[in-house]
Amino acid sequence: MLKYIVRRILEAIPTVLGVTLLSFVMIRAAGSPVRILLGNHYTVYRAAMLSRSLGLSKPLWDQYVIWLGNLLHGNFGYSYTYDRPVVGLMLQALPHTIIIVVVAVLAAHVFAVFLGSVQAYFENTKFDQIVTVVNYFFYSMPTFWLAVLLIIFFSIDLNWLPSGGIVNAQLSNPGFGDWAKHLILPISALFLVSVAGWARYMRSSMREALLQDYVRTARMKGASEFRVIFVHALRNSILPLITLFGLSLPVLLSGALFVEEVFNYPGMGLLYWDAVNSRDYPIIMGVTVFIGLVTVAGNLIADILYGLIDPRIQYR
């Protein structure tokens, strides 16, 4: 098992390197940070000086090798705009992202597995049809648009929840309640878009499982319908979803990016977004590496989970 994990991590290294190389080249094609950094003080001379001091006048390949060398020493570089180490900025933003992503993912999975299962059981009834339509509605809606709609409805029209940030600056002593309030809308936006997709997968996977012979055997034994669905069919039908879960982590993170931008929520997504706008290469590359690692870890976790749930799988 340990050998398997180590092998999988080693195998992932070329992929992560490829991703970094690609982003390195592409972000430079999007334009230089020099003009943005200098703003009104821009002169050709100053631009050339700044370019040199940031190491941007070297050939692209050399720049990449230098960056990679630093990375291997755990050095993600300095942000151009904040003038602080990228690692510090990422570590500051990370907990905020983790909290909304983890809560949204867990809640979305539990709910989607339940919803999809019930839908499959009541296949083609009014209930199933209505849920399917609602699912499509959320599934086809862009994340940022959903986030905007949530703000319009719950923050502006109803004035129930804050529209962004993580603290209310007007409160002298903002506590846990205030913080939690700020989390509700970003989490809801991520939750809704994920539930819709997952419930659809779960519905078809459960539908398939309910047709299997072992389900009939369970009924023959006298198991209740609840037991048939949630004990006998469920464990089999979440297997394909676990693989999908690993693959969907990057998609989820990109969802978080839009959500954080719309809600002005100070997580990794917002950090990345601002960095792209100011061409802050070190941050962009730092976050890219992070997303690459999360993707690898997600796939690995999915594989291990799969093995825990399906006794037919053996790791070598």
Partner: protein
């Protein structure tokens, strides 16, 4: 319709019927229309006896057996009466039906390879039956399941309890199925072609096992098969099915020594004679079982029957009594015809 609830033996002992099936019909909805897969099937099973249902592939054997425990898919419409100890299973509330399933009436399926849940241990799957129907502790249930595994001839019972279905052969899986369905000591075991998917030597072992268990525990058996050899070995009485109907019914002796229906005779002729002296060729019945959507109008067997005549194509025969307890669905057995 005449109904027997009890049979009085010459000695005066009273045998009650475990199961009485009266005009059972099953229709499937196919493209919005209902078609009969099983039509007007009636039979009974006496306590302790083994009734065989024989017929070619597709004649409705599995559908009949699944209908008894209400295990058919949602596109099925079932009518008639399935009376178990005086209660009609077909309109029992779900909760009461579940108390009977796996406990008083249980079933073994045709497909040993896929009938066990791939993600649970054998031990968990067998003891589940006990835990659903009795108040035993998990430990006791596990222990009892292991003993049951031993009595179905698995020597390595302790090891197998902790294994998963994919680690077992087809024959072993069918033994596990038998253990699972017998662990609550049911009154009636429905075995739908329990050996069809297994190779010949394993087949004989499984049949021996079933015969022994049913005798030891006094379980009645409904044995479904397409193999008349199996019937001859195992069954007290036999119902021959063709295209969703029972075409002949009687004791094993009636069926083997005095077959009436041309279909039964055809089946008997199709048994290969192992006796080396006889150079008789296998005589399978020409043609195929008609599909649900294309049932012939009169007698369902008419298109394949060597003795067919005018009336067979026009009108479906009822079940005629040949002797007490021996019935045949053939116009040739209609006493009024003067045969």
């Amino acid at each position: 319709m005449h109904k027997r609830c009890q049979t009085t033996l010459p000695g005066g002992a009273v045998l009650s019927n475990v199961l009485e099936v009266d005009s059972l019909s099953v229709e499937f909805r196919i493209n919005g229309e209902y078609f009969h897969a099983v039509h007007d099937v009636s039979f009974h099973i006496e306590s302790g006896e083994t009734l065989g249902i024989v017929g070619e592939s597709g004649c409705g054997k599995s559908v009949t057996s699944l209908a008894l425990l209400r295990l058919l898919t949602k596109n099925a419409r079932v009518s008639g009466e399935v009376s178990y100890k005086g209660r009609n299973l077909l309109d029992l509330p779900d909760r009461e039906m579940r108390q009977i399933r796996g406990n008083e009436v249980s079933m073994i399926f045709q497909e040993p390879m896929t009938s066990l849940n791939p993600v649970y241990k054998i031990g968990a799957q067998i003891s589940e039956a006990l835990r659903l129907h009795t108040q035993t502790t998990p430990r006791r249930a596990w222990q009892q399941s292991m003993e049951m595994l031993r009595s179905v001839g698995i020597a390595r019972a302790e090891g197998v309890m902790g294994e998963y279905p994919h680690q077992l052969s087809g024959g072993m899986r069918q033994r596990v199925m038998i253990a699972m369905s017998m662990v609550c000591n049911p009154q009636l075991l429905i075995a739908d072609e329990p050996t069809t998917a297994l190779d010949v030597t394993i087949q004989a072992q499984i049949l021996d096992l079933m015969r022994k268990l049913s005798k030891d525990l006094g379980t009645s058996v409904l044995l479904i098969t397409h193999d008349l050899g199996v019937v001859a070995e195992m069954c007290d009485r036999v119902a021959v099915m063709y295209a969703g109907e029972i075409v002949e019914q009687g004791t094993a002796k009636d069926i083997f020594h005095n077959p009436q229906h041309p279909y039964t005779r055809g089946l008997l002729n199709a048994i290969p004679k192992l006796d080396a002296a006889s150079k008789e060729r296998l005589q399978p019945i020409e043609g195929n079982v008609p599909s649900l959507t294309r049932m012939p109008k009169g007698c369902h067997f008419a298109p394949r029957c060597p003795l067919v005549f005018e009336k067979c194509r026009a009108e479906a025969p009822g079940l005629f009594r040949v002797e007490p307890g021996h019935l045949s669905r053939c116009w040739l057995n209609d006493a009024q015809e003067g045969n």
